[in-house]
């Protein structure tokens, strides 16, 4: 009898995971097709590129999961029942997966040898031949590489949207591992829950090895030198998304100055004249353009809110935002406190860093939201339990970005930094101040942007989850407005507010990083080498 139950449960879990994976594959397929079209268009038409790129940049900084209830309403409006819900989920996953793939395609074509374009013209290739013989193949290595990353991000949104919908009888996704796990956890079936997570992890690993690995091996020949693309793609898995951000590139150019500074500090690379002023001027110009776009958007949104005449609940929305904002930033600080020692240990103090990297990658591909139902079940009845739950999920969502980004950047650390450390036996406080922090700082900063974004997303989900009773927060607030009559109108206003907040979030990040870190470093570098 018990055995039968277990078998039955296993069958249910397997089908549900399979359903979830089907949504993922559909979403990935659509994402790749759209990315190829948009990316190639943006890269081959200068005018289109100028419009498309900033728009995409902004889209990928907005926590789209916040729009989920709204998206579901629209989809259900057009498509009946099951189809509508699934279309909404797939749509949501696409919105999380697609941006980095588009940038991958765009950059692949921009980085393509110009002779390839010459070839196409010289030999009079038709539009179709140009696509099939040149543009699509040249994009493939980056498409595969970015798909691996998109898969991890997409899983987060898949599970999140399924869990998100589980509490709402009005629009529930049927057959999904997220839904199933929520049910198991809330009914206290820990065994079933663990079994479900086990199956989930198995699927993750199987997809990596049986789907992406062969693809990676295949597209190796598409690269010019036939260098192993696999190595690169593993490195780029998680933080690839960060790298795609224009903001990242902005920071990256700062990082170069910083690395040069590091190298000089380490005593190597003497005679390399680094023109600080020039770099600074250039990056500031680019940064300024970015701020202008953001500010313009903010103005438009504010105007929209003003026009829509937000009435009585204006104040409560504001308070809710404030709560969420505080929670997210606090979680971010805790994530930093975890990430820094972990990174220092893995980069400097252990010889098994590649083992840890792999381990982290596997753990990171388990969406933190999948743990939400069980944490809720465990915390039931504790005072402040809900706050703690929200907090744990926030931290788990953000900390990986910090770790992977830091480890990635530390890879480009000049070898002689470690040699200097060992030769002179630098240890303790001096080692921390002069070496560890200096090396991990650039990666930490670039990871921070995505980490904050991920934590923000998690806040919407965690607060919205039915059994989490946090005091206030924007996610909570959203849920309440959905339940109220006439919610559609107020809902759209709140989304506008949310978008504004997301943008503000990013602007604050950048300004803080600039004033606290780079400006100081620059003036120091300038003082020493000016």
């Amino acid at each position: 009898m018990v055995a039968l139950n277990v078998l039955g449960l296993l069958a249910v879990l397997l089908t549900d995971t399979a359903f979830s994976w089907m949504r993922m594959f559909v979403a990935l397929g659509i994402s790749v097709l759209i990315s190829l079209a948009v990316g190639i268009y943006a890269a081959t038409s200068e005018r289109a590129g100028r419009i498309i790129l900033p728009v995409i940049d902004i889209f990928q900084t907005i926590p789209i999961v916040t729009f989920f209830p709204f998206v579901i309403l629209i989809f259900i409006g057009f498509l009946p029942g099951v189809i509508g819900i699934n279309a909404a989920v797939v749509f949501l996953i696409i919105t999380s997966m697609i941006w980095n793939i588009i940038f991958g395609v765009y950059e692949a074509i921009k980085a393509m040898p110009k002779e390839f374009a010459d070839l196409a013209r010289l030999y009079g290739l038709s539009k179709w031949q140009k696509l099939s013989k040149v543009y699509v193949p040249v994009s493939m290595p980056r498409v595969v590489e970015q798909s691996v990353l998109s898969w991890a991000i997409g899983l987060f949104y898949l599970v999140t949207s399924e869990i998100f919908s589980a509490g709402n009888t009005a629009y529930q996704v049927k057959n999904g591992i997220g839904v199933e796990l929520t049910g198991l956890a809330l009914s206290g079936n820990t065994f079933g829950y663990l079994l479900g997570i086990g199956i989930f992890i198995l699927f993750v690993i199987a997809t990596r090895l049986l789907f992406f690995k062969p693809l990676e091996d295949y597209v190796v020949r598409y690269t010019k030198q036939g260098v192993s693309q696999g190595r690169i793609s593993t490195r780029r898995r998680i933080y690839g998304r960060v790298m795609q951000l224009r903001l990242f590139r902005y920071l990256q150019s700062n990082k170069k100055a910083f690395t040069a500074y590091l190298v000089r500090k380490g005593g190597a690379g003497r005679g390399v004249k680094w023109r600080v002023a020039k770099v600074e001027k250039k990056t500031q110009k680019r940064g300024a353009a970015y701020y202008i776009i953001l500010a313009a958007l903010a103005v438009i949104i504010l105007y929209g809110i003003f026009r829509a005449n937000l009435a009585a609940d204006e104040y409560s929305v504001f308070v809710a935002l404030l709560y969420s904002f505080g929670r997210v930033w606090l979680a971010f600080i805790v994530s930093l406190a975890i990430a820094i020692p972990v990174c220092v240990y893995v980069i400097f103090l252990t010889k098994k860093s590649s083992f840890y990297l792999l381990l982290f990658q596997i753990i990171a591909s388990i969406p933190s939201t999948i743990l939400l139902p069980e944490i809720v079940a465990l915390m039931r009845g504790y005072a402040y339990g809900s706050e703690l739950i929200a907090f744990i999920v926030f931290v788990l969502s953000g900390v990986w970005y910090l770790i992977f980004s830091t480890m990635h950047v530390a890879k480009s650390m000049p070898n002689n930094v470690l040699e200097v450390k060992n030769t002179f036996g630098v240890r303790g406080v001096v080692a921390w101040k002069k070496i560890y922090i200096m090396v991990i700082l650039p990666g930490l900063i670039t990871g921070s942007i995505t980490a904050i974004g991920a934590e923000w997303n998690a806040s919407i989900v965690a607060e919205n989850f039915q059994n989490v009773h946090v005091g206030s927060g924007i996610g909570k607030f959203l849920d309440m407005t959905i339940a109220s009559p006439g919610f559609r109108m107020s809902l759209s206003n709140h989304y506008l507010l949310l978008m504004l907040l997301a943008l503000l979030n990013i602007i604050i990040m950048i300004l803080l990083i600039n004033t606290l870190v780079w400006k100081r470093l620059y003036s120091r570098v300038a003082r020493i080498y000016g």
Partner: protein, 252 residues
Amino acid sequence: MDSLMHIIEVRNVSFSFEGVAAKVIDNVSFHADRGEFVSVIGPSGCGKSTLLRIIAGLIRQERGKVIHLGDEIEGPVKGISFVFQDFALLPWLTNIENVKLGCSMLDISETERMRKALMELEDVGLSGFENSYPNVLSGGMKQRVGIARALVSDPDVLLMDEPFSSLDELTAEILRKDILYILKSKDLPVSSVIMITHNVEEAVELSDKIVILSHKPSRVKRVIGVDMKHPRNKHSRPFMKTVDEIYATLTK
């Protein structure tokens, strides 16, 4: 066809890049006649590649004309082919598919395309490598595929942009010897070759005529005819004399 007509005539061509005030190419004129192998030589960055891309119709000159058998060049045309410095083979296509790409403009059947490509690949000494990918080939073999792709359409003009400068000296030497043979053994011979180079010995070894360009902007400094029998002996007096003459002009 008028036998006095030049195969390619470059007439008073000037060019500057958008947003860059200084001219890259200033009033350059020269021509290539039937059966002529013309080298254009000049220091790195003087605008040689740019000039060749103008002749190929890939970019448009600011002033002047390029005339191919009496017709003004306004874009890539069927009779003009190109060999790239860095080979420019598409790594996702097999060697034979890369060669076949060269006759995309020809109005012939697929089987005919295949036949021509196979033959061309054999002519450059690469039969047996049809179905492997460019990545497994050495640099010299890659450039042979590049040459086969350029020749498969039976062009009357072959443009080559530093075709040997990505190869090590030994490989380059062998391929330089072979290229004259490959060109000669074609059923439908190439009428003229225009080769860009910055290697003086290479120019003297291969060409019937050498156009020497100046730096910033590119102007024709001098045109030198080379009248020696092939294969040319690099240590012969006339050879060394011509080389010295070119060096003198270049550094003047």
